[in-house]
């Protein structure tokens, strides 16, 4: 049996590109902004790094959950609405004198519940995730507005407000707690995706659902778990969103789902499922963050930012496509 094409050589090359593709993208984007003499002195400061990290954290947390979903071959359009709903839930709980810790936990669980509903409908009735979560997008947004009484919810100053608070904004250290939480979760998820049985099932389901089913993987259960876990992440992102605004805002995070999906895909995941990585996703989120922050600091008009981010999304994925083409 001729097995010459799978030489060790091409394998390493692939490994290299797969892990370093998004990293190169990140360096490229940073390089782009370093070209501007005007921007350089303020862009490459600890304070700005902290700013970018803080602004990226919500997208990154959501993207952890979205990576799971996308690798499993699904998609979740309700992520943004869910973040808004969770921010309202957190604020409402705090307003009703729950302790910050229990508000945090309950909000994250609430996110998990909605994720579980998504998962149950998708897996139980074998419905397309795009549609189910499109519906849920409206339901969650509406519920957020309803729960908030069509206003913003403003609880008293409390410990949760501190998660995203940038102390000493001119310096890199200390980083806000939220950044550390996301880094820790990302590390856990890297291990889960790579070394846990569940992680492999996520890849298997995304790669070929029928095969997964025939091989005795409980596809339904696993899918529900995937969406639930993602829901927990979206809930957490919602708490962070609350903390950032220090208020529950039912109209926040409109279109955030697309940003999150873009981060995951720029990070190398395929929307048809079966491939993707947490490291890539985190880099993808950072690319988006640097791009947004840089282009807003570049005195470009707003519309230029939109155009450039659009172009970068296409280029990033196009480049990825191209390097994958190189391999085969």
């Amino acid at each position: 049996m001729a097995t010459d094409p799978h030489s060790k050589d091409s394998f390493n090359w692939k490994q290299f590109l797969n892990s370093f593709g998004p990293l190169l993208g990140l360096l490229l984007v940073i390089g782009l902004f370093s070209l501007s003499a005007e921007l350089r002195p303020t862009f490459f400061t600890g304070g700005n790094a902290k700013l970018i990290l803080t602004q990226t954290v919500i997208v990154a947390t959501g993207a952890l959950g979205m990576t799971l979903i996308i690798v499993s071959g699904g998609i979740d359009l309700s992520a943004g609405s869910l973040v808004a709903l969770s921010s309202v839930v957190a604020a409402t709980l705090l307003l009703q004198d729950w302790s910050p810790a229990s508000a945090l936990i309950l909000t994250v669980l609430a996110g998990g519940c909605i994720g579980a509903i998504n998962g149950t409908i998708i897996a139980g009735f074998r419905m397309v995730p795009f549609i189910v979560t499109l519906g849920m997008m409206g339901i969650a947004r509406g519920s957020a507005k309803w729960l908030a009484g069509n206003k913003t919810v403003n609880p008293e100053e409390n410990a949760l407000n501190g998660i995203m608070e940038p102390i000493a904004p001119q310096n890199l250290w200390p980083l806000p707690m939220g950044v550390w939480i996301t880094i820790a979760l990302a590390i856990v998820m890297i291990f889960v995706m790579k070394y846990s049985v569940f992680g492999r099932y996520v890849f298997a389901i995304g790669s070929n659902e029928d095969t997964a089913r025939l091989c005795g993987i409980r596809v339904r259960t696993n899918k529900i778990m995937i969406y639930t876990l993602a829901g927990l992440f979206f809930g957490l992102a919602g708490v962070m969103q609350y903390s950032r605004l220090t208020q529950g805002d039912p109209t926040v995070a409109i279109g955030l789902e697309l940003e999150i999906i873009a981060a995951v895909v720029i990070g190398g995941a395929s929307l048809s499922g079966g491939s993707g990585s947490i490291t890539g996703t985190m880099l993808g989120a950072l690319i988006m963050g640097v791009l947004k922050s840089g282009s807003s600091q570049m005195n470009w008009p707003t519309y230029m930012q939109e155009i450039i981010i659009g172009i970068v999304i296409i280029l990033a994925v196009g480049l990825d496509k191209w390097r994958q083409g190189k391999q085969s």
Partner: protein, 513 residues
């Protein structure tokens, strides 16, 4: 052994309906321990359905299953697997992005508290591959980079690791070559010796006779006969299967060879072929033998304009036309039947009519519009001609059995009125009756002066109907001779690369008959 009192498996009165289709109308079926039992039947007889009921994919409408004497009603494949039923499905079932190791252990990973034990996983996968003599397969590359045959090996390996009680193999050899088939048989015999029951489904009756102890014949969803395979008369089995006598399945219709239709010189693709040369004439059936991975599929694809051509020449109807696209090739009257009809060949959620007429709406379209009535008429013509089992031309093609789907794929080339047929494993997964039909069809075409390139891994059929046979090895046609000058043994020895001692090996570009 065949008459052990306690049966490992007993299915009785199993019925199953899919909408209006009665797939099974009361099948009874028994297998003992340490028994290899063959299921035989035409395409659509219900073999796969019966086995899918056993492995928990489908639920029977009626009937009982006894496993080791106790009632067995698998609720899903997971359940069946836990009860010791392993199945290799007719269609490839792999997670293309996962590695070879992960695919082999999929669904049954060695783990501790939810974390994989990778060294053990490796050991198990290696052991399974060793049994199949394929330990050279790298464990950590994604299976989508393997050839179909290698993928089939991975599938078989997966079925081996669970230490199953009952192992079901639904056409495991349809994309294997002789060498691998021999390996598989050795493994089956080992398993049998250790007490495993094997249900074996294949359309190769000789193969069945080699490996099986007993057989059951299904016809139209009913079991019509069972018996001892070694003692059985093949003609009798075929009679039970198709309900009539079948004497000679390889027809000999006189056809004369004309001008060159397709000439390929030093064709080189991206990986394969390396340098393929052959000449196909009008009215000729040119067979291509070779081991899996030899690059036969790639040669056809490059000829047809589906894959990139790096160098070399392709001459169609005595006109130079090396670089091309499928659209142009079809316009030149060339048609390709692909190896994997599910992934490339059929529009699974469209109806038969669309599938049959797809390449040539033009013949009845007016101003870019298609009169549906004419389209259906054309479709029904081919459905009748090819004896496709279907409700109507408006049925969705995914509802047909594999063999009938294959007939539709061939029907499309006929409807296109192609002059040059590139057929890649056209009889894969097709029952003997339909095979005979396809052979006679091919001969009929040759008689009409069409040129046919026939790629197959099943040597008897190549020897049976081809005028000329070329053998492909490592991306090149190593030898090409009239079929009468080949023996099965010689074909194999050239295919595995022992060409130095055969003088004909120089006969690369002397395709004459």
């Amino acid at each position: 052994m065949t008459t052990t009192p306690t049966k490992r498996l007993k299915m009785e009165g199993v019925r199953k309906r899919f909408g209006a289709t009665h797939a099974l109308r009361g099948v009874s079926f028994e297998v003992g321990p340490s028994e290899v039992h063959t299921l035989i039947g035409e395409n659509g007889a219900g073999k796969s359905t019966l086995m899918k009921i056993l492995s928990g994919v489908h639920k029977p409408d009626e009937g009982s299953i006894l496993l080791d004497g106790s009632p067995f009603n698998p609720s899903n494949p997971h359940h069946a697997r836990m009860c010791g039923i392993a199945m290799i499905y007719q269609e490839l079932n792999l997670a293309p992005d996962l590695s070879v190791m992960e695919n082999i252990t999929l669904g049954d990973e060695p783990s501790a508290l939810g974390w994989r034990r990778i060294s053990e996983q490796k050991a198990r996968a290696t052991e399974a591959l060793q049994q199949l003599e394929h330990e050279q397969l790298p464990l950590d590359i994604p299976v989508n980079r393997l050839s179909i045959a290698e993928q089939q090996v991975v599938e078989i390996a997966r079925a081996l690791i669970g230490k199953p009680k009952v192992l079901i193999m639904d056409e495991p050899t349809s994309s294997l070559t002789q060498v691998d088939v021999q390996n598989l048989f050795r493994v089956i015999n080992l398993l049998k010796a250790s007490g495993v029951s094997v249900v074996y489904i294949s359309h190769f009756l000789e193969e069945c006779q080699t490996i099986s102890d007993r057989y059951t014949v299904l016809r139209d969803g009913e079991s019509v006969g069972t018996g001892d395979m070694k003692k059985a008369d093949i003609q009798h089995i075929i009679h039970q299967m198709v309900g009539r006598e079948m004497k000679d399945i390889y027809p000999r219709k006189e056809h004369s060879v004309g001008k060159p239709a397709l000439e390929v010189k030093g064709l080189r693709g991206r990986i394969k072929p390396k340098s393929a040369s052959f000449r196909l004439h009008k009215g000729e059936i040119y067979g291509v033998a070779g081991l899996v991975g030899a690059g036969r599929t790639e040669t056809l694809r490059a000829c047809f304009g589906l894959d990139r051509v790096d160098s070399g020449r392709v001459v169609v109807m005595e006109r130079e036309s090396t670089y091309s696209t499928p659209t142009k090739r079809l316009a030149q009257g060339m048609g390709l039947l692909s190896e994997n009809r599910k992934e490339e060949g059929l529009l699974l959620n469209r109806d038969l009519a669309d599938n049959l007429t797809l390449t040539k709406f033009g013949s009845f379209s007016k101003f870019g519009f298609i009169p549906r009535k004419k389209q259906l008429e054309a479709a029904e013509h081919w459905i009748d001609k090819l004896k496709v089992k279907t409700r109507s031309a408006k049925q969705t093609i995914s509802e047909l059995s594999g063999g009938n789907q294959q007939k539709i794929a061939i029907g499309r080339l006929l409807h296109h009125e192609a002059d040059i047929f590139l057929l890649d494993e056209p009889t894969r997964g097709i029952d003997i009756g339909s095979k005979a039909q396809i052979y006679s069809l091919i001969c009929e075409l040759a008689k009409q002066g069409k040129a046919i390139l026939f790629v197959s891994s099943y040597l008897p059929e190549l020897l049976g109907i081809c005028d000329t046979i070329g053998v492909m090895c490592r991306g090149e046609i190593k030898a090409s001779r009239p079929a009468s000058e080949w023996s099965e043994h010689e074909l194999i020895s050239v295919a595995v690369g022992q060409t130095s001692d055969t003088p004909e090996s120089q006969a690369i570009d002397t395709t004459k008959s």
